[in-house]
């Protein structure tokens, strides 16, 4: 016999007094609400009814409303007698039941717990008293688990031992549930003792998702793709920030971490390119409040303009969000998902919810500690055979001998050509030679000198949190201390993070969420770009450079800067002996002697008021604040004693103060009907605003320090200087949301946002951003084959925007006073970054379809999304020819269209009680094309190298980010031409497409293996397709730094034998053993395959290998750039975590609830990569463009460590 559950109305717990609320609100709006509920008396045992001709079921329903009684009855045997008439006052239940069942052929039985069972006359009901216990999978008691009788809300909670007792009909079914565990149904079948073991809930099924504006929605109701990441996924590998933990975990979300370690920015790019200029980083929303992501540099993001504007690798705002405080994170990708954020959301939104106090634990204490050791991960593939020097003719012309040895004195002693940037000099055989520091030193290869430039770093994180929850309030307070020492010399960071998240119930209908975070960070000598070492002829340390000498010599014993060979009077004892290339010593001076300390205080806070105004009507309002204050002290030490000062001194002291504040407010009123009805609906209306302000003050000494190494503005040689920059912006919007559902399997949502922004000209500062999305659970709507357990189809359309940063559109003039010899003269100057009075906001529309299925009892899941987006009126600080009167102009330059496909696949191939393997794989394909460009703009050049002989462009009808360069000159048939000297040369009359900086596919593959208490998590991520542009790679080839440049240099590397005849013409010898008929025989000849430019015949000119590299790859527009454009595909073994969970029993013996110990490894190694001499993640800067360009950054790190998580 089975029991049928009567459909019920709103579920309101028994015994609770239903308050009568009459609220009247006035102020512009008057919300008039009248909720009246049947007044009830205290007793819930007596019943008063006055009904005429009412259906039997209706009567039961009314009784349930009035009293504590609940009914159960047989499915097939509902009393059919159509109508009931009854009139009783304060009657007992027996009286009422007798009356309504009179002559119906049914009888009833009252059980314990006020349960009344109705059965046909003559059937017997057997009730049993069950004593049971609820346990988790490890056999530990679950306290407070709910045990209910199916079909009723009647039930009990388990006690402190996990036990319960309950009287039920002997054929009842018990429903056992507990937060975090799968709900289980247990047939009683007459048993009186039951032990129920609950299995943990499947993580893949997230029933609720936090969406835009912090609105929680059922996952199945969403008509667009989202990716949800849990706290465990974020924290498993002990990442110092949450974004690094997202590698490969969310389809269509590409993560790149700037090199330099924990102080460097992590970039998230969602669904390809969404804007040409400015930061293309998503909007971050923490507990409903939009937070600051950019550091000081505003809209452009850090490191967007290259080494000379900012030599240090900047961080970004999300590094301050402590990963261990995150409960979950949702990535909203498409325009429909983010439309409620309007012009902030073109690049997607990341919604973060922080942890709260947990239910049922009492006072909980959690401790997490993780530490890892960081080392330099990879080195370029340098050659280790030849030392400094050039080709023979240049060696001689510049004062060395043919081989590249420089004579010292007249006794035949020679030394290496330290000044030469080329590495074509003599072979390094370990002979003792005079060294540039004045000592004798072996001339031997230093294969590890790249790695020796770095130090061993570490990272340690301690997080302690306290949490509690009771009926009135819940809170969680956490403190995190993290210490970091980077692999780049001189870099370190210390950070304190305090976080409080609490909810206070002011009243049964009113609650207040208070969230506060304080982050204090101190960064010393943030990692510096090594551009000067890899991109300058004064850089390039030679293959013979011994780092021990360099580290010894960068400063003198008195702490002054190294003394050059031609300025020996500064310190004759310690001056260098010979001329060198200075950038390596300078780099050490900057990072090890000079000090740059950033002290940052950041305060994130929000208060949210939630009010249940009436049945179905809710109001939520929030005020949030993100405030940052940074004080940066920059101390440059005196470079030589002040006695040598002439008209100024050396050293400097500067102090920069930044203040950045966001004030965020929103308000949302929602009315929803009963969502379990056939037609569900809800409507919301609201308002949102954000005001940002920013000031930046820089004061510094001028002309050096008067007293050596006294760091004070008062110690300035000349009058100190101060400058200030400030900006303010305001954005506000009115919002509307409408949701509809049908039978809980068809959903439709529409949103609208009318936005106003202060950064656009007054005539175009208001925009309307609508969206609509729908989801259809076809497995609920139709009968489906059994293997298909869940299927959902989704479709959405939305519009978002992108407004420029403040003041970009302005056409302005700078005024300043000039202190001329005849007095002060005011002057006005035009800007070289021109504004535009007709600027419009970027508008992105996106259409998206998706299919989500789960098969074979959720063992296999597939989620597919396809999207098509268009960005109109692309905003771009368009570079213009200077002859127009400005270098750039902000312009709406055209239209971009992107298509993409995202596939996420998960499976649980092995599922046994003690062993489990789950695997998750995702791919994202994206292609962004330029549909059109504005009139007069044929092509946009984003970045060029060597006088634009290689450049990254956007052009109509083409994929954005194509790389073009001057090709080798060829004849009609495509044969390469060589000039009269025997070299290839570039054809400057045309460009050839050689690649594109955007990847074709990105994604990741994660696996979790578990065996008993051991779990192994492995994450692999990959990128395929696309190129990187790296000028340092061309320069390194030019200089003969790399292994690849050994080619042709000697017999072993394919060099041809030849001699130079009396006429000075290189003439080939028959073999390497042949004797030269005239002069020396050489073995580094190469005849470049091709045709002579002069007569089209086959090239037969022998050239010296060194000359081939020095000439063909010349560091100018005359050199071939093929080596600067390199395919960038990789598969990286990103993370591995091996954890061991102590059994509950053991943990409890240690007075803990939970203990987990993990070995962690991050950024371990590449399974495959096409870039050999730079790391695939070498780029810095946050725009899509910077992500495809390497300008010489710093080394990549590898971390290995362990973590301990314990809860008390």
């Amino acid at each position: 016999m089975s029991f049928y559950v009567r459909p019920r109305g709103v579920k309101i717990p028994y015994g609770l007094l239903r308050p009568l609320l009459i609220l009247q609100l006035t102020l512009g709006f008057i919300l008039f609400l009248n909720l009246h509920v049947v007044a009830n008396v205290l007793s819930s045992k007596t019943i008063t009814l006055n009904l005429r001709s009412v259906e039997f079921k209706e009567v039961l329903s009314i009784i349930e409303h009035q009293s504590d009684y609940r009914f159960m009855f047989s499915n097939r045997n509902i009393p059919n007698k159509s109508k009931v008439d009854i009139n009783v006052k304060d009657a007992q239940i027996n009286t009422v039941m007798d009356m309504i069942l009179d002559n119906s052929g049914y009888t009833y039985q009252e059980l314990a717990n006020n349960l009344i069972v109705i059965v046909p006359m003559g059937e017997r009901i057997t009730t049993v008293k069950i004593t049971g216990k609820v346990l988790d999978q490890t056999g530990e008691a679950l306290i407070g688990a709910s045990v209910k009788i199916k079909g009723t809300s009647d039930g009990v909670a388990t006690d402190e031992n996990g036990g319960f007792t309950l009287s039920v009909p002997d054929d009842a079914i018990l429903v056992v549930s507990y937060v975090g565990f799968k709900t289980q149904e247990v047939p009683v079948n007459g048993k009186t003792a039951l032990t129920i073991t609950l299995q943990p809930a499947d993580k893949m099924i997230n029933e609720f998702v936090v969406t835009a504006l912090g609105i929680k929605r059922e996952e199945k109701a969403l008509g667009y793709a989202v990716s949800t990441i849990t706290s465990e996924q974020i924290n498993a590998a002990g990442n110092t920030n949450f974004a690094s933990a997202l590698y490969g975990k969310a389809a269509g979300v590409k993560i790149t971490t700037a090199p330099g370690g924990a102080t460097s920015a992590v970039n998230i790019q969602i669904r390809g390119v969404n804007s040409l200029n400015y930061s293309t980083q998503p909007l971050y929303v923490v507990d409903g409040v939009q937070i600051r992501n950019n550091n000081e540099s505003g809209g452009a993001g850090g490191n967007s303009t290259g080494y000379w504007d900012d030599p240090r690798i900047r961080g970004n705002g999300i590094l301050d969000i402590n990963p261990t405080d995150i409960e979950n994170l949702t990535v909203l990708k498409g325009a429909s998902a983010t439309a409620l954020y309007g012009s902030d959301a073109a690049s997607g939104v990341v919604v973060i919810t922080t942890k709260k106090g947990q239910k049922g634990r009492g006072l909980g204490v959690d401790v997490n500690y993780s530490t890892s050791r960081e080392t330099i991960a990879n080195a370029p593939q340098y050659q280790n055979v030849y030392g400094p020097g050039y080709d023979r003719a240049s060696n001689v012309a510049l004062g060395a001998n043919e081989e590249g040895w420089v004579p010292v004195g007249s006794d035949g002693t020679v030394r290496p050509f330290f000044r030469a940037y080329g590495q074509f000099g003599p072979k390094m055989n370990g002979e003792m030679v005079p060294w540039w520091d004045g000592s004798m030193h072996p001339y031997s290869p230093q294969p590890n000198n790249y790695k020796q430039m770095f130090q061993k770093g570490y990272n340690s994180n301690l997080n302690v949190s306290l949490s509690n929850m009771n009926e009135k309030a819940n809170y969680r307070f956490s403190y995190t201390r993290s210490d970091y020492k980077g692999i780049q010399i001189g870099t370190k960071q210390g950070k304190n993070t305090f976080n409080l998240n609490s909810t206070i119930k002011l009243h049964s209908k009113v609650s207040l969420d208070v969230v506060g975070g304080y982050v204090n960070t101190q960064v010393t000598n943030r990692a510096r770009l090594m551009n000067r070492l890899f991109s300058s002829f004064d850089g390039f340390f030679s293959r013979a450079e011994d780092m021990a000498v360099v580290f010894d010599k960068y400063k003198t014993s008195k702490g002054y800067k190294w003394v050059p060979y031609d300025n020996t009077q500064l310190n004759p004892d310690e001056a260098l002996a010979f001329q060198i290339r200075p950038e390596l010593l300078n780099f050490l001076w900057y990072q090890l002697r000079n000090t740059n300390v950033e002290n940052q205080d950041r305060l994130l806070s929000s208060i949210t008021l939630n009010v249940d105004l009436a049945k179905g009507l809710k109001l939520r309002t929030r005020v949030g604040n993100d405030f940052t204050s940074i004080n940066t002290e920059d101390m440059s030490y005196n470079e030589y004693p002040i006695a040598f000062n002439t008209t100024n001194s050396t050293g400097s002291y500067g102090v920069t103060k930044n203040r950045y504040a966001i004030v965020y407010t929103d308000l949302l009123a929602t009315y929803a009907n009963d969502q379990t009805k056939v037609f569900g609906y809800s409507f919301s209306g609201g308002f949102q605003s954000r005001q940002e302000s920013f000031t930046d003050q820089v004061s510094s000494t001028s002309g050096g320090l008067v007293t050596a190494n006294w760091f004070s503005l008062n110690n300035s040689y000349n009058a100190q200087t101060t400058s200030e920059a400030r900006s303010k912006s305001l954005k506000y919007a009115f919002l509307g949301i409408a949701n509809f559902s049908y039978r809980n399997y068809l959903f439709l949502e529409g949103t609208a946002r009318q936005e106003y922004t202060s950064t656009l000209p007054v005539n175009s500062n208001s925009y309307f951003y609508p969206s609509v999305n729908s989801s259809f659970i076809f497995t609920d709507a139709f009968a489906m084959p059994k293997w298909l357990s869940y299927g959902k189809f989704r479709a959405s359309y939305g519009m978002v925007g992108n407004a420029p940063p403040p003041y970009e559109a302005n056409i302005l003039y700078t005024q300043k006073p000039l202190s001329t010899t005849t007095g002060s003269v005011p002057v006005l100057t035009a800007q070289n970054a021109y504004g535009n009075a007709n600027l419009k906001s970027e508008k992105k529309t996106e259409m998206e379809f998706g299919l989500e299925t789960k098969m074979l009892q959720n063992r296999i899941g597939v989620d597919i999304s396809v999207y098509n987006s268009k960005v109109k009126d692309l905003l771009m600080r368009l570079s213009t020819a200077a002859s127009n009167g400005a270098l750039t102009r902000i312009t709406n330059v055209g239209e971009l269209s992107s298509q993409g496909l995202e596939i996420a696949f998960n499976a649980n191939p092995l599922k046994r009680p003690k062993t489990n393997w789950s695997t998750r794989l995702n791919f994202a394909f994206n292609n962004s094309k330029v549909v059109s460009l504005a009139d007069g703009v044929n092509q946009i050049v984003f970045k060029g190298g060597d006088a634009n002989s290689v450049q990254i462009v956007a052009e109509k009808g083409q994929t954005i980010g194509n790389i073009y360069m001057y090709p080798y000159a060829t004849d009609d048939k495509g044969n390469r031409l060589v000039n009269s000297s025997g070299f290839y040369y570039v054809d400057k009359s045309r460009y050839e497409k050689v690649g594109n900086i955007l990847p074709k596919v990105v994604g990741g593959w994660s696996n979790t293996f578990s065996y008993k208490a051991l779990t192994l998590d492995i994450t692999i991520d990959y990128r395929f397709g696309g190129e990187i542009m790296s000028m340092p790679q061309k320069y390194g080839t030019n200089a003969g730094m790399f292994k690849s440049t050994l080619k042709y240099r000697d017999e072993a590397n394919g060099g041809l034998p030849y001699y130079v005849n009396e006429q000075g013409v290189a003439t080939k010898l028959a073999s390497h053993n042949s004797v030269s008929p005239y002069g020396k025989a050489y073995h580094d000849g190469v005849i470049l395959p091709g045709k002579k430019e002069s007569d089209g015949s086959d090239n037969d000119v022998i050239v010296e290998a060194a000359n081939y590299y020095l000439t063909v790859f010349d560091a100018s527009s005359n050199g071939y750039n093929g080596n600067a454009v390199i395919k960038n595909s990789y598969i990286k073994f990103r993370e591995a975590v091996l954890s061991y969970n102590l059994s509950r029993g053991t943990a409890q013996k240690l007075h803990m609830q939970n203990v987990r110990l993990s070995l962690i490894g991050r950024n371990l190694f590449y399974l495959y990569r096409t870039l050999k001499n730079i790391d695939p993640e070498a780029p810095v800067g946050q725009s899509w463009l910077n992500q495809g360009v390497d300008e010489g950054s710093t080394g990549a790190t590898r971390s290995i460590g362990f973590s301990l998580n314990a809860s008390f």
Partner: protein, 547 residues
């Protein structure tokens, strides 16, 4: 009670919402950068045109362009013979190009100011504003338009000297009409024609005009070069005409001859920056067109020299031109320098420059044993003025005109002798501008100068070609280290001084270029570039380079 509080909260939020919706005003207020102005005025734009660190000798221009490139090519400065010595540094050329078309002098720190004043953008803005000015206010501003144009024309001619064809007539469209055009590259000879024609118009306008009181006062305040003196502007304009007429004189000789004759025979109508005929004792401060360093500028050129070893005395200048004739300027322009031997600084015994033909290693090993650029006059001088026109240059130009064409109004010898005397006086003047005298050097006496002028290598004697050679060599010397651009242009025009070019082993840049190639951005963004692309090589000659 709680409910009341809640009601209060809710009403607060609604109030906020309503006030916010009425906040359109705030949107407008936040739109404009509060630290900059939307209302430019002509006279202040004009003053900013003068604020040009490509004219004032400052670190960036000299370090990246004058010493590093132009000075090298005519051996005005010494350099290390490196493989890539003669390769054009594109970024630095790009900077120079940009500084003509768009300003880079917005910064407030006199020691760290940007390099150029963007005369094109500034002048186009002035033109736009002038057009919009009510007719009755125009007389107040006209003089700024005229003087501004003179500055623009001078800078334009210098651009042609570096690049050849340049966008001129259609350039500056953003400032003029807020549109981006692809301005055409005007043929260089046409640009020169415009420069010369308009300079003559300016000369006549300044000769004929009388300013009203408003203009007089404003011009005197804003013109911190000539301090509102119309006479000085006239002299400056006519000297410029002389310079640029002579520059193109081997191509359009008739024009040069005719117009220069007109100038030289009408000194009242066409006065010149000629030092009023005074030689040894003339006052550059009073007569020459100089722009002084700002009073809050405290930097000097030491780094600009030493960073690229340009502090070494140039070989040809010191060893060949000056030492043999015991030039009285030697102690003004050079220090003997010295080396530390056994930790003791030992000064070098004599003035001597190392050979420019040595190998890089020999040069770098020996640099300390030779003389360097003078510390008082050049390296540590925070008061070195920017030179717009000197009497010496004018008189050298006159000498050339008299010598070549035998014009009336003077003689070649007199002009030459006067020019040499003025050049020596000017060298001393530069030395004296430094408030810190590191070594005491007195002004060369008239007797010394007489003796110097009597030396056969200097004396105005010999064949006409020899005389011209002396004029040009002495003029090159007179330009000094801060006018490398003029020196390089005259070197290309006259092929004097007779320096020996060091040959690099680089097959791409064996010798100095004859012009700069266009910078990357102009090639990439100006579609008109295709018309000049064929001639955009480092060996194409400027139209006046025909000798």
């Amino acid at each position: 009670m709680i409910m009341k509080k809640i009601l209060l909260h809710i009403s607060c939020v609604f109030t906020l919402a309503i006030t916010m919706s009425g906040c359109k005003k705030q949107l407008e207020e936040y739109y404009t950068n509060p630290d900059k102005t939307t209302n430019p005025t002509i006279e202040k734009l004009f003053s900013s045109m003068l604020d040009n660190n490509r004219v004032r000798p400052t670190y960036w221009d000299l370090r990246t362009l004058q010493f590093n490139q132009m000075g090298k090519y005519c051996q005005m400065t010494a350099f290390l013979n490196e493989l890539t010595t003669y390769s054009q540094n594109d970024d630095y050329i790009q900077n120079r190009w940009n500084d003509f078309y768009t300003p880079n002098n917005q910064g407030n720190n006199a020691n760290d100011a940007g390099s150029g004043s963007g005369p094109m953008a500034q002048y186009r803005t002035m033109q736009r504003l002038f057009k919009a000015l009510p007719i009755d206010e125009r007389p107040n501003m006209e003089v700024f338009m005229m003087a501004g144009r003179v500055i623009l024309l001078d800078q334009t001619a210098q651009m042609v000297d570096m690049f050849g064809d340049i966008p001129y007539s259609e350039a500056g469209s953003l400032d003029a009409t807020a549109t981006i055009s692809s301005p055409k590259f005007d043929p260089q000879a046409e640009v020169y024609d415009t420069v010369l024609t308009q300079l003559k118009e300016m000369a006549d306008w300044f000769a004929a005009t009388t300013l009203n009181t408003v203009a007089t006062s404003a011009f005197a305040n804003q013109d911190y070069v000539n301090h509102g003196s119309l006479s000085k502007w006239r002299r400056y304009i006519n000297s410029l005409r002389l310079r640029y007429l002579m520059r193109q004189s081997y191509v359009y000789e008739d024009r040069a001859k005719t117009e220069i004759q007109e100038i030289l025979s009408n000194p009242l109508q066409y006065p010149l920056v000629d030092g009023d005929g005074v030689g040894d004792t003339y006052s550059p401060y009073n007569t020459d067109v100089l722009i002084f360093q700002l009073t809050n500028y405290t930097n000097n050129l030491d780094n600009a020299f030493t960073e690229i070893k340009a502090h070494a005395a140039p070989d040809y200048m010191l060893n060949t031109v000056m030492l043999p004739v015991n030039d009285p300027r030697i102690p003004l322009m050079f220090d003997k320098f010295g080396v530390s031997i056994n930790k003791v600084f030992t000064p070098n015994a004599t003035y001597r420059a190392m050979s420019q033909q040595w190998t890089q290693v020999m040069q770098s090993d020996s640099i300390s044993y030779f003389s360097t650029i003078d510390s008082t006059t050049y390296r540590f001088n925070s008061h070195l003025p920017g030179i717009m026109m000197t009497a010496a240059e004018t008189n050298f130009l006159k000498a050339e005109a008299f010598e070549r064409w035998g014009l009336s109004g003077g003689t070649a010898a007199a002009s030459y002798n006067l020019a040499v005397r003025q050049a020596i006086a000017f060298a001393y003047y530069l030395h004296s501008t430094n408030t810190t005298q590191y070594e005491a050097v007195t002004q060369p006496s008239t007797a010394d100068v007489d003796a110097f002028l009597a030396k056969s290598a200097v004396a105005y004697s010999g064949t006409s070609d020899e005389k011209l050679g002396k004029i040009w060599t002495q003029k090159w010397l007179a330009y000094g280290f801060t006018q490398c651009g003029q020196a390089w242009a005259e070197y290309r025009r006259t092929k004097y001084p007779k320096i020996t070019i060091w040959q690099s082993t680089s097959s791409i840049y064996p010798t100095p270029p004859t012009r700069f190639t266009y910078p990357a951005s102009e090639k990439a963004y100006n579609t008109s570039y295709s018309a000049v692309q064929a001639n955009d090589t480092r060996t194409t000659k400027i139209f006046w380079d025909v000798k």
